[in-house]
Amino acid sequence: MTPTRGYRVFQAANGVVLTLVVVVTLFPFVNILARSFSGEHAIRSGQVTLWPRGFNLTTPHRVMSDSLFWTNYRNTVVYTVVATAISIVLTTCYAYVLSKKHLKGRGLLVGIAVLTMFFNGGLIPNYVLVSSLGLRNTLWAIVLPNAISVFNLLVMKAFFESLPPELEEAAAVDGLGTYGTLWRIVLPLSKAVIATMLLFYAVSFWNSWFAGFLYMDRQELFPVTVYLRNLIAGATTGSDYSTASDTALQIAASIQAVTIVLTMLPVLLVYPFVQRFFVSGVLLGAVKG
């Protein structure tokens, strides 16, 4: 069937709209890159749009030679690695238990997890709890309160349930216990879903800032997101710039731009390659959850 004239007009308009969506989505990224390599004067006078004006590498150099920035960047790496490792172990263990249909009390165990998707204690009780457990100014304040994401848990549970039961029956015949089956049979078959979960957790811990903001009192403990937040809020301009406040204000705009770029860089670099994992993970969770 040949498309009608009206439909051809629609297709053309659709192309224009989708092009606009792409342009509007990407524009802030291009703009921030242009600002990162522009002279402060060009930025302040509103000349920087798509392309650097007064090109220079002074600001990237300044940010990268700020020791506090690197300390905070390293903190983010450490927090992300530790938190992701703990999260993936806890999530895998619990998801595996929940996937065992014959287990007595399984419904209760599922309910305990799912209920927390709809009820949560709220900011103040959580804050009071973390503080009275003495977790302030430790990495555990960032890691433990968010160790299991119920959404990720349900995705893994759905995956484990989709594995053929014969495999594990065969493992039982071979004399493998639960631990052995999980470790030698199930996990090697689950590499794809584990990779997806690792990505989910790693990105969310990399991006998180509020726990660090709330529970860390000393700036050498901040994750880089809090460093950036303080830059944005003007609370501090980083240790190297605090000496001369006029200069600090002057270079603030391009420093913000460079810090933003460096903070999102790891996510941007891996994003094109791992995007499809995220999509498939979300769909698995939505269908089963």
Partner: protein, 300 residues
């Protein structure tokens, strides 16, 4: 009892794997729920987790007669309503438009680009927003190019909601299409063939086949959206607002953050938080009930 003993004997290894995760849920999810009793009790920082002694509804009476509370309540409702109004339907529209793209690489490219903002830290998003609307930013460049004076958007309470909702659209619309696009692929092609035989054009096919096909997904997401109506992007507001824009920007969650964490009135803030959760729960339950009665699909 006997059966439990047998179950434990047979499956103790499985149960042992559940111990640490259960500990997590008890300590970091259920203890804070119980911790809400401090809304009814006097709490001293550093003192007992569950407060010192009962004070009844004192803190509830306090915030219900607090004019600031009612102002932030109003702001929350307005921002929540605007977010729902724009961020719920736009992903449906974008998904339908993407669905009409015949070249697969083009569709894939638009999807990849539009998902990207979802993966950014909220701090990065706030940074991008602030740069875009700053006095030397792109929007003001456009304004001055047409002879208009530059506007200090971020200091102007009149602009806060526009900035907030626009950035929310920028960040969420692309990712929001995923579930709809998946639902669109499950629609039976025979239905379209039948509609064509009946003489339906593309528009009528969309109206009578496509939209009913994604209706369950829409209902589910709408209920979820309504449930989180009052929990408007706390972190984003916290990053974007400033004392000058409090009159329009301050919402319940940011207010209780300042009252509780910053000023140390934990019980007072916990009372506000509890009130907010109860309203949220009521909203999600009523939305669920309403959709079961009217369109026949619901979350549970």
């Amino acid at each position: 009892m006997r059966t439990w003993r047998r179950a434990v004997r047979r499956d103790w290894q499985l149960y042992s794997l559940a111990v640490l995760p259960l500990l997590f849920f008890v300590v970091f999810r259920y203890l804070p729920m119980l911790g809400n009793v401090i809304a009814f009790r006097r709490y001293q920082p550093g003192g007992d987790l569950f407060g010192e002694y009962w004070v009844g509804l004192r803190y509830f009476r306090m915030f219900l007669t607090d004019p600031t509370f009612w102002q932030v309540f109003g702001n929350t409702v307005i921002i929540g309503a605007l977010t729902l109004l724009f961020c719920f339907p736009l992903p449906v529209v974008l998904a339908l438009l993407l669905n009409e793209v015949r070249r697969r690489w083009l569709k894939g490219f638009v999807q990849t680009v539009s998902y990207l903002p979802h993966f950014l830290s909220i701090v990065v998003v706030a940074g991008l927003v602030l740069q875009t609307v700053s006095v030397d930013g792109v929007i003001n460049q456009g304004l001055t190019a047409v002879g208009h004076d530059a506007v200090a958007f971020i200091q102007d309470p009149g602009w806060f909601r526009t900035i907030y909702v626009s950035s929310e659209i920028w960040q969420t619309v692309g990712w929001g299409t995923i579930l709809y696009l998946a639902a669109l692929t499950t629609i039976d092609d025979d239905l379209y063939q039948q509609a064509k035989v009946d003489g339906a054009n593309r528009w009528r096919q969309t109206w009578h086949v496509t939209l009913p096909g994604i209706r369950p997904t829409m209902v589910t997401l709408l209920i979820l959206n309504i449930g989180t109506f009052l929990a408007v992007g706390f972190e984003k507001v916290l990053l974007l607002y400033n004392p000058l824009t409090y009159p329009t920007a301050d919402v319940i969650s940011t207010y209780l953050y300042r009252v509780g964490v910053v000023s140390g009135s934990f019980s007072y803030a916990a009372a506000i938080g509890l009130f907010e959760s109860v309203i949220g729960l009521t909203l999600v339950l009523s939305a669920n009930w309403l959709s079961r009665r009217t369109v026949g699909s619901s979350l549970w």
